[in-house]
Each structure stands twice: as C-alpha cells, then as structure tokens.
Symmetry: C2
Subunit: 346 residues, 2 copies
C-alpha cells in the first residue's frame, strides 16, 4: 500500500497521497533531493532539478505543508478576529492575507469575541496549529492566554492601541485616544458644542475604550460639561446608528453633533436624518470613524477619521515576517498615522 494507488480504480488520478518518496523513486534519486529541488534549488544540479520538477508536474504532487511544519518549516500565520461583518476588520484581514501570500505564507483565521473565555479558547485553537507567527486583535486580556502565547516561542503582533499596556511581543496600531480626541476637537473647532458619542459595545475592547476616553478628554479640555447621557452603545449595524440618533436627539433636544465610533453607524444615522427631513449638518452634524469606501460617496459626504486598516493588516504581517526572517531590529511598537477627513456631514 505504499505505492499510494491503493483505492484508486482509475489508476492515474493525481493523488495527494503520493509524497517525495514516490517522486524520488520514479526518477531514481533520494527523497531529500526532491525536497531540495523545491526549497533549496541551489543545492541541486540544474539537470536533476529539471527531472524532479517534471515528475512532480506529471504526478500532480503538492508538498505536504503539515509535514514541513512539523520539521519547523511552518509557513502559516494564525490570526484571531472578531466578526467580519460591518466592522472594517474585513479590510484588515484583506491586508494580512495579501501580505501573507506575497510572502509565501498561508493564513489561518480563527473567530474570537471580546470575552476572556472566547479569547482564550480561540488562542488555544490557534496555537494547536503551531503557526509561525500570530496576529491578534486588541490586547489579550487573559493572563493564561498571554502566558500560552509567550511560551509558544512564535512572534506575536497585537493590532491595537499603541499606548498603555505592555504588548506580549509587538504592537501595530494607532492611538485610538488621539484619533477620538482629534475628531472631538475638530467638531468643536467647527462650532459644535453639544457633542454626543455613539459606539458599538465597548466591553473588553480597549480600542473603543480609548476612543471614549479621548472623547472625554477633549470635552474636558474644552471645558464642556453636562454631557451626561450623551453616550449610547448600539450594535454595529446601520439600524443601530439610526436608533442611536433617535435616542440621543430625543433625550437631548439641542444636541448639535454626534461622533460615531464606526462609519457603519454614522451612515445609518444619516439615512435616518434624510427620512426625518433633517439637514446634515444643518439640524445635526454627523461624524464617523474608519473612512469606509462609502464614506466619500455618501450624501452628504461623511466627515470621518481615516485609519488605513488594510495597511495595518499588511504591516502586522510584515513585522512578523521580518522577525521570522531573522531580523532582530524589528520595532516593538509601530504607530500608524491617522487623518481627520473633513467633508460635508459635519
């Protein structure tokens, strides 16, 4: 049964059950030569290599990455991400994926929520695959999980807030505090004084926590008080944004601007304004966060915080690959810039 053709009545179906050994046998070389032809072409004569490649092509052989990985040559990057829908995480995943593939790595995607328990479970799952490197969203809360990650020996990038806690290994991100502070100041500079804040569920998400803190800090700096109850948490949907708008404007008749922690929410709120015949920003100003594709095309064009999440994903992987490539000089903290995009909605 070692010839691999055991249960294949057809006879010449390419089968992944065949390995380097079979290739080697067919052309009369040692298995290691086949291996080298692929991963270390310099150490094999051009002629031998050609024969090997031909046999590989003919037999439809695809090297087994699992076996490679067990020998320490793993080329898999693992990541834990929150739900992809509506969140801007999709762009980040895209960035990671692109950079991974350009570097010859594959990406394992594990779903994780922002609860300690789910986080730990996700990280365990990830570690089970012995990835060469890992990327996590937000800081890891669970001490157990942090210890596990550290003990793995693999490089880790946390894509998160660049300020505050000690990273497990490396961080890539922005100062969420600063972005929110800057946007709040921006709104104030445009004359708005009663500024509400709407976010998606904050619990366990230090990025959102930082944004809220930045918003508070700006209000304090501006000497604006009485903003109690001008904050709402809603699910990350367009409808959530609309509901937040309704809630805030009915509770606070003279609120004049709302800062949403996500463009998705802001877009939903703008639709609700249209529906009510409210001018944006005449009746109320709306600002978002993320600069999603639609933001620039929205009517009115959305004032928002631009954070290049695609690039964030790419950078995270790049850090990992640099480290895996033996570069010791890789910076521990990579802070990406952001931009306040002033458009029509505020």
């Amino acid at each position: 049964m070692t010839d691999g053709s055991g249960d294949d009545p057809g006879g010449n179906t390419p089968s992944q059950r065949l390995g380097v050994r079979e290739i080697a046998r067919r052309i009369g070389v040692a298995p290691i030569t086949v291996s080298r032809s692929l991963s270390n072409p310099g150490r094999v004569s051009a002629e031998t290599r050609a024969r090997v490649l031909e046999a590989i092509e003919q037999i439809g052989f695809v090297p087994n990455q699992l076996a490679s990985s067990m020998r320490g040559n793993g080329r898999m990057i693992g990541t834990v991400v929150p739900p992809l829908i509506n969140s801007g995480i999709a762009e980040q995943v895209q960035g990671m994926s692109d950079e991974c593939h350009e570097g010859g790595y594959s990406m394992l995607l594990v779903q994780g929520e922002f609860t300690r328990e789910a986080e730990e479970k996700a990280i365990r799952t990830l570690l089970g695959w012995r990835p060469a490197g890992m990327i996590l969203q937000s800081f890891v809360q669970s001490e157990t999980a942090r210890a596990l990650l550290q003990g793995s020996g693999a490089p880790v990038v946390e894509i998160s807030e660049v300020k505050g806690r000690d990273p497990i290994d490396m961080v890539v991100g922005i100062s969420n505090f600063e972005t929110a502070y800057a946007m709040t100041m921006h709104l104030a500079a445009k004359g708005y004084r009663r500024i509400g804040f709407v976010s998606t569920p904050i619990h366990g998400n230090d990025r959102l926590q930082q944004r809220r803190t930045g918003y508070h800090a700006a209000l304090t700096k501006l000497g604006i008080k009485n903003h109690d109850g001008m904050e709402v948490e809603v699910p990350i949907t367009a409808q959530g944004g609309a509901e937040a708008l309704v809630a805030l404007t009915s509770r606070h008749k003279h609120i004049d601007a709302i800062f949403f922690s996500s463009d998705t929410l802001a877009v939903g709120a703008v639709q609700e304004c249209h529906r009510r015949g409210w001018a944006v920003p005449g009746r109320i100003a709306i600002a978002g966060y993320g600069d999603m594709d639609l933001a620039a095309q929205l009517y009115p064009r959305l004032t928002t915080v631009r954070v290049n999440r695609y690039d964030m994903g790419r950078r995270a992987v790049r850090q990992l690959l640099a480290r895996l490539g033996g570069d010791v000089e890789v910076p521990t903290v990579t802070s990406l810039g952001f931009e306040i995009i002033d458009r029509e909605s505020a």
Copy 2:
C-alpha cells in the same frame, strides 16, 4: 534536551514544545493514554483522565493539530475566497467560520482571484495543507485544478451557481439566473421598461455571468429590445456605482431603472442621485443585489434581491462536515432560496 526546558531560563513558562510524551512521563502513564484522555475519554478510567487533565492544565499543553492531521485526523477546512472588501463575501466567510468552530474545525483562508492562474495557485496552496474539506467560490475553471481537487480525496463544496456545469463534488448556492430574471421581471411589473444592468467585472465569474443572462432572458421574454449599451461594468465600490449611474443616464436619457449586481453599487448610485437632486424612484429606479445590512436602512430603502450569504457559508460547511461524519446521503446540490425584497427605491 528532551525535557523541553532547554532554553527557558524562567523554568516554568508553558511551552508548546512539550508533547503528550512529556505529560505522560510526568504522571507515569503511556503517551497514548494522554491522547485517549483527550480524544476518546470513554477508553480511560475517570481517575487517570483527571490526572492527565490536571497535568495538561498545569503545563499549558496544547495538542499539536499538525501531528494529528498527519495521522488523518485533520480538523481543518480550507477555502479560497475573492477579496473580502465590499463584496458580501465577508458574510459568507463569517457563516463558514461560525459553522466550522461549532463543529470543532479551523478555517484556512486562501486568497484567490477569478483568473485561471490565480485560481490554480490558490488551490495548490490549499491542498498543501491537506484540509479535511474544501470550499471554493465559483466553479473551478482550470482542469488541472479540478483534477487536483478530485485526486485529493477530500470532500469539496463549490458555492456557486447551482445550474449548468457538473460540480467537482457538491454545490451549494442559488440560481443566479433566476434571481436576476425575477428582479428584472419585478421591475417590469412595476412599470419600468428601459432597464439598465450594472455589474462588477464579469470575466471568469460564472455567478455574474448567470445574472446577466437572467437579465437578458427577462428582457427577451418581455419583448423589450433596444437595450444595447445599457450594460456597464465597474469596480465593486460605491464610487463605481455612482459612475455607472452617470454613464448610463447620460448615454440613455430615458432609462428609467437600473439593476445593480451588488448593493454596494446601488447604494453608491443612490447617493449620486441625491447629489443631483434626482428622486429615487421618481427620476430613476434603483435595485440592488444582496440585501446588505444597510439596504433596509437606506434612504430610500433599497429594493433588492435577498440572498442569505451567511447561511450559504454555514450550509457549505455543514455539507462538508456531514460527509466527513460518514453520512453518505449528503445531497450533491443544495439550492437555497432567494427573495425579491420590494422596498422604496424601485
């Protein structure tokens, strides 16, 4: 160096370098007993099992899935997906991911474009990891890739058009032809006669091809002629949708409705209408495809084709897991329903 504590000055850092063997050694049992405690609890006495689990907890041991997979116990589902941004694929990936995790599987995500070359490369990458099952978007074009997939022995689901070509193994999807046909008919029933069609790049994407064909078939059925040049292809962005609107309305002054192959495009077009002061659907009716989250909240609410992509993802994985669980009765073709959601924009 077999005690695994070699280069760890701290001493008790949990290390993934430790395996079942070490756990076994510590509590004086055979490695296999550790293995069984995890995967086959019934075959181990409760007391032994408790000791094993305690040691595992203490040492921070996470079983190596690579090694398991090499023994044929792989718990990884691989998938090839087009870019996640703006495409509705994110929802599908979410569905796959959720179902995978509930079933105890992990998901490997490989990026693939709709060109034959990229497709083949992506599939090779995927196969290298010897996934227990695979999910592909769209039908596989390349014969080489199809042969490779078939030869792998693993179950394959193509999420695609349910009509037409022979699947490699199983298909989950909808009849894109029917959805587009139905929407075009729906628009006609509402009185529109000069109906344009806008899609994202069609080449190599049989889903889009089928939608266009469905649109054509409906027009023919309706006896509507002279729709030459009433089709445009644009990138899948809100701006693309706006540009398509401008292009079509300037070329065809009396066009009265546009059917977009994606909500993202439709939403962009609606914004452009607002900007121009055009009533929707008064000046022009707009219909989308996908029923994305924003569609129901949009102003005006978007008439669209509802396709539950999240569910499609879940179903695809469910098929795979059923087959992996030994169920031979798994249907080859799973056709999900769709719904024409009649709202305000058309």
